[in-house]
């Protein structure tokens, strides 16, 4: 069974830190884009899926009728398993009652809300179009529509953010009582407005030490509220970890529909064009890469070790027919010795201390 990702590349306004493929405005393209999506979907007609994730951009930026059309197409095109996780990303300000009702009818059972912060100044600096209050009300509204599986995205290491403002955001998030919280350290991606502003000295960022203190605090705080950490930046109540995202970290098959969406299917990774016009006119393909055994082993390790449960040596052997110790024995031993990797019950996983410096550990798994 595959996971299906559907990309909606539209936003009312692009956030300053965002480097995804997404376009402001372009409302005139919405209809044609949804039609192109549905056309691409047809290629996979009858495929069994146990997760669908509609992300963006801002999926809730499209009109209710188009959303309805898209959801219908998903349901009829794929054979969705009975326990299929059907997620959509939503932004406060774009989530109307009408759209919520469409989602409910369309089978959506998980909503991920891009909150990022409960501090209005921080939100403004990030270029978000909503306030903290908007975000709070949105989450409450979603619940009223009977959605119980809700994620909140939060960020730390933000311009002007302090330990106190971050603690406030975490408190508010807990007050919303979602099932899942994604908690990221801000990444200044190359070419984003925020990166340029930082470069020109418009603001300073919390230091590495402050950033890590926030991370440690978040871990502790969320744990005390019953959110278990299952990936570097993801926390969930027991049993509601995000099925879709786990597919990425476990290197399972997924198909991506829409502009610049990536797929991994039968050992081939491919990605659609990032040209909106071209995509609408039906030219989807851009690049593809046949993964070698080496690629697969590397990705199995670097993605799998992101998860707190780590990777299983049996699974490694099942996939590659080789003993993991033959390939990575030295690297594993060195990091075990230094306390960055732990081994128990046939699984290798990063120690908590290793997470903050995980690149230095994970890069050793590149062969």
């Amino acid at each position: 069974m595959v996971g299906v990702y559907i990309h909606i590349p539209f936003c009312l306004k692009k956030c300053k830190y965002c480097d995804f493929v997404s376009f402001e405005g372009k409302t005139s393209c919405h209809k044609a884009y949804i039609e192109a999506l549905i056309a691409e979907m047809r290629k996979y007609e009858g495929m069994e899926a146990d997760s669908v994730f509609i992300g963006g951009g801002t999926p809730t930026a499209i009109e209710a009728d188009l959303l309805e059309k898209l959801l219908k197409a998903c349901n009829s095109n794929f054979i969705l398993s009975s326990n299929c996780e059907f997620s959509i990303e939503a932004n406060p300000k774009t989530l109307t009652d009408e759209k919520l009702s469409v989602m409910k009818k369309g089978g959506i059972n998980r909503i991920s809300v891009g909150v990022q912060s409960f501090n209005d100044h921080e939100l403004c600096v990030l270029g978000r179009i909503h306030t903290a209050e908007d975000a709070y009300n949105t989450v409450c509204g979603i619940k009223e529509y009977g959605f119980s599986n809700i994620n909140i995205d939060l960020m730390f290491g933000l311009p002007f953010q302090t330990a106190d403002t971050f603690a406030h955001s975490l408190n508010m998030a807990a007050k919303c009582n979602p099932t899942h919280i994604s908690c990221y350290s801000l990444i200044l991606e190359e070419g984003t407005i925020l990166e340029k502003e930082y470069g020109s000295g418009k603001f300073t960022l919390p230091s590495e030490d402050e950033d890590r203190r926030m991370y440690d605090y978040a871990h502790e705080f969320l744990h005390s509220y019953g959110y278990g950490q299952y990936e570097i930046s993801n926390f969930a109540k027991a049993g509601v970890e995000c099925t879709h995202n786990i597919k990425y970290w476990e290197c399972m098959d997924y198909i991506g529909l829409g502009v610049c969406a990536h797929s991994l299917l039968d050992g081939i990774r491919f990605c659609n064009t990032d040209d909106l016009k071209a995509y609408i006119s039906g030219e989807t393909k851009s690049e593809s890469l046949i993964l070698t055994e080496k690629d697969k082993m590397e990705e199995f390790m670097i993605m799998g070790l992101r998860m707190r449960k780590g990777i299983s040596e049996h699974e490694f052997f099942r996939r590659f027919g080789k003993d993991i110790r033959k390939i990575y024995g030295n690297v594993l031993d060195t990091h075990i010795k230094n306390g960055f990797i732990r081994y128990a019950d046939g699984r290798y996983r990063l120690s908590f201390e290793a997470i903050s410096v995980s690149n230095s550990v994970l890069c050793d798994f590149i062969l």
Binding site: D211, S233, M303, V357, N359, I366
Partner: protein
């Protein structure tokens, strides 16, 4: 009465300070004599190594033959022997001079005489060469020919009133130089019937013909088929070809006779058989004794050269062998370092020679190198009476076994405008120099003499001298034996592990400062790691400086989903690549730059 063969030959060289216009004048002479077509003229034809052109210095001797129709109607053969212009190659210079009867002394009309010029001029006078002063760059607005003429007369003591005032750049008056060469430089007066004596002044390796030897025939005559013998090395060869050195290449001739300059090809495989300064004679009718002045040159500066990528060890070896084919003074032998793996201990004539070899390895052979700090040869007197010559700090015996140590000294001669005398003396004092003498050359310039330890000038003395005198100082030195000195070995420890490649020998009084400075430099050069890395400088068991590289706090990709994998994996690949380029020293990863950064401490 027509002139004899030798009367129509002039052998000369050009002495000049860097940038005073030696190569430019040589180009003009070539052009004037029509030896090189204008269209073939590449600027500075004689300096044909890229490095030479870039640095404006001559590294290897060159020689060309020119034909010149003089005002007296005769056609003369002029052999120009271009000499290296750096103190590292003093011996080569002296052999080139010995191949000539005269020297053109070029002095920059704006800058006047420099230490290097003076040193080489004295060398030329020692060889009884006729010196022809030429004032160059007369076209510059800052030219002061009268002043320079007086300087030449006062300092060198030769008349310069009638010296041609030229601009090699524009060609102004350069034909006068040719006439001076013909009229003032004596012709050779060798004995054509005597046994062969030919002076080797250069050689290079040709992959088809073996070593091509450049010689000046002093007496006798040489032709293809002769069996020759190198009088110093004893090696014997059958001459395949002899000829003359045309600017565009070698031109075979039937024979080389007394007074002539040319080349010998004799299928010689090893350049070590053709030592500069050796005398070539024939086996059949050998000369009684060799020409004077031969010296075996010994390297003075040593350093370890390692491939940045251990897999390139063999490539490095091959490249060194190839360079050695053309450079008999380059020595190397395999060495191993705990920190750097397999590499070579290399010996050089001096610092410039070392830099040149390193640069050529990197440029011409595409090698990525890690080099260790240069060392001189220390004389170690052990308590058991043994004497050890140590060119690698790692080989220094334990302190308890050392009675005392000696280090090589040099006599340095620095010329500088009087305004900078204070700065120069301060620098020499800092470098443990002992003041010997000072002379005022005229009211504006002084010549300062110091005795300095060689290990104080092998690092960066020349750079420091230049920067403290705004580039005006010139510097020359000669070895002056060994002196007892209070030396210690300074070690660097990373996370408690000794890094052999960073050890060096230093005077006790300077050890603390240098240890501190090295620790600071390393702190900047070593990236943060997964754990804290203490950097310590130690003499024996005593820690004299300490710095700490803080542990890495944050190096994490917060987000990684389906669309990110390719890009994020590339980041990790890059990081891994960076790690690969680092040296594992105990548990610490040290970038190669760290090894290099401590070479320049000031």
């Amino acid at each position: 009465m027509s002139k004899t063969r030798q009367e129509k030959i002039r052998n000369f060289c050009i002495i000049a300070h860097i940038d005073h216009g030696k190569s430019t004048l040589a180009d003009r002479l070539l052009e004037l004599t029509g030896e090189v077509e204008l269209r073939d003229m590449e600027d500075q034809l004689l300096d044909n190594m890229d490095l030479e052109r870039e640095r404006g210095i001559t590294i290897k001797a060159h020689a060309v033959r020119l034909k010149y129709k003089a005002n007296d109607g005769e056609i003369y053969t002029l052999n120009l022997i271009d000499t290296p212009g750096h103190v590292d190659f003093n011996y080569e210079v002296s052999r080139s001079l010995a191949a000539c009867e005269g020297a053109i002394l070029i002095v920059d009309a704006a800058q006047g005489i420099e230490a290097q010029t003076l040193a080489n001029t004295y060398l030329a006078l020692e060889h009884d060469l006729e010196i022809l002063p030429v004032i160059n760059k007369i076209d510059l607005p800052s030219a002061r020919p009268e002043y320079v003429i007086r300087e030449i007369e006062d300092i060198i003591g030769i008349p310069a009133e009638d010296a041609p005032q030229i601009s090699a750049k524009t060609g102004l008056n350069t034909e006068k130089v040719l006439e001076e060469i013909v009229n003032k430089i004596p012709c050779p007066n060798g004995d054509e019937d005597a046994p062969l004596k030919a002076l080797i002044f250069d050689s290079y390796y040709d992959s088809y013909r073996g070593v091509i030897v450049y010689v000046r025939v002093k007496d006798g005559c040489l032709k293809a088929g002769d069996r020759i013998k190198m009088m110093q090395t004893g090696a014997q060869f059958d001459v395949v070809e002899v000829g003359v050195l045309h600017p565009n290449g070698l031109i075979p001739s039937s024979e080389l006779s007394a007074g002539e300059v040319g080349y010998i090809a004799a299928s010689i495989k090893n350049i070590r058989d053709t030592q500069v300064g050796d005398t070539v004679t024939t086996v059949e009718n050998p000369a009684k004794e060799p020409l004077p002045g031969y010296k075996k040159v010994n390297p003075m500066v040593f350093c370890g050269i390692y491939p940045a990528d251990g897999a390139q060890y063999e490539d490095l070896q091959e490249a060194l062998l190839k360079l050695q084919l053309n450079d008999a003074s380059l020595l190397f032998e395999p060495e191993t370092s705990v920190a750097l793996g397999f590499g070579f201990r290399c010996g050089f004539l001096g610092l410039l020679h070392m830099e040149i070899i390193q640069e050529r390895l990197e440029r011409e052979y595409n090698l990525d190198l890690v080099t260790t700090a240069p060392s001189v040869i220390y004389r170690v007197h052990k308590t058991n009476g043994d004497i050890l010559m140590v060119d690698n700090p790692t080989n220094l015996p334990p302190t308890v076994e050392i009675d005392y140590m000696e280090e090589p000294m040099v006599n340095a001669d620095i010329m500088v405008p009087v305004d900078y005398v204070g700065n120069v003396m301060e620098l020499c004092q800092e470098r443990r120099g002992v003041f010997k003498d000072m002379k005022y050359m005229e009211e504006t310039r002084a010549q300062i003499f110091y005795e300095l330890p060689l290990n104080e000038i092998v690092y960066d003395f020349f750079d420091a001298l230049k920067s403290r005198t705004k580039g005006y100082a010139s510097f020359d030195y000669e070895l002056a034996g060994y002196k007892r000195s209070d030396l210690v070995k300074l070690d660097i420890l990373l996370n408690g592990d000794l890094v052999d490649a960073l050890s060096f020998i230093v005077h006790k009084d300077k050890a603390y400062a240098r240890g501190r400075r090295m620790a600071e430099k390393l702190k900047d050069a070593i990236p943060r790691q997964l754990f804290e890395v203490p950097i310590q400088a130690a003499i024996g068991n005593k820690i004299i400086a300490r710095e700490t590289v803080r542990a890495l706090r944050k190096d994490v990709l917060a987000k990684c989903y389906g669309g990110d994998i390719t890009r994020k994996k590339k980041l990790l690949e890059k990081q891994k690549e960076g790690k690969k380029r680092m040296r594992q020293v105990g548990s610490v990863e040290v970038p190669q730059e760290a090894f290099m950064s401590v070479l320049k401490l000031d």
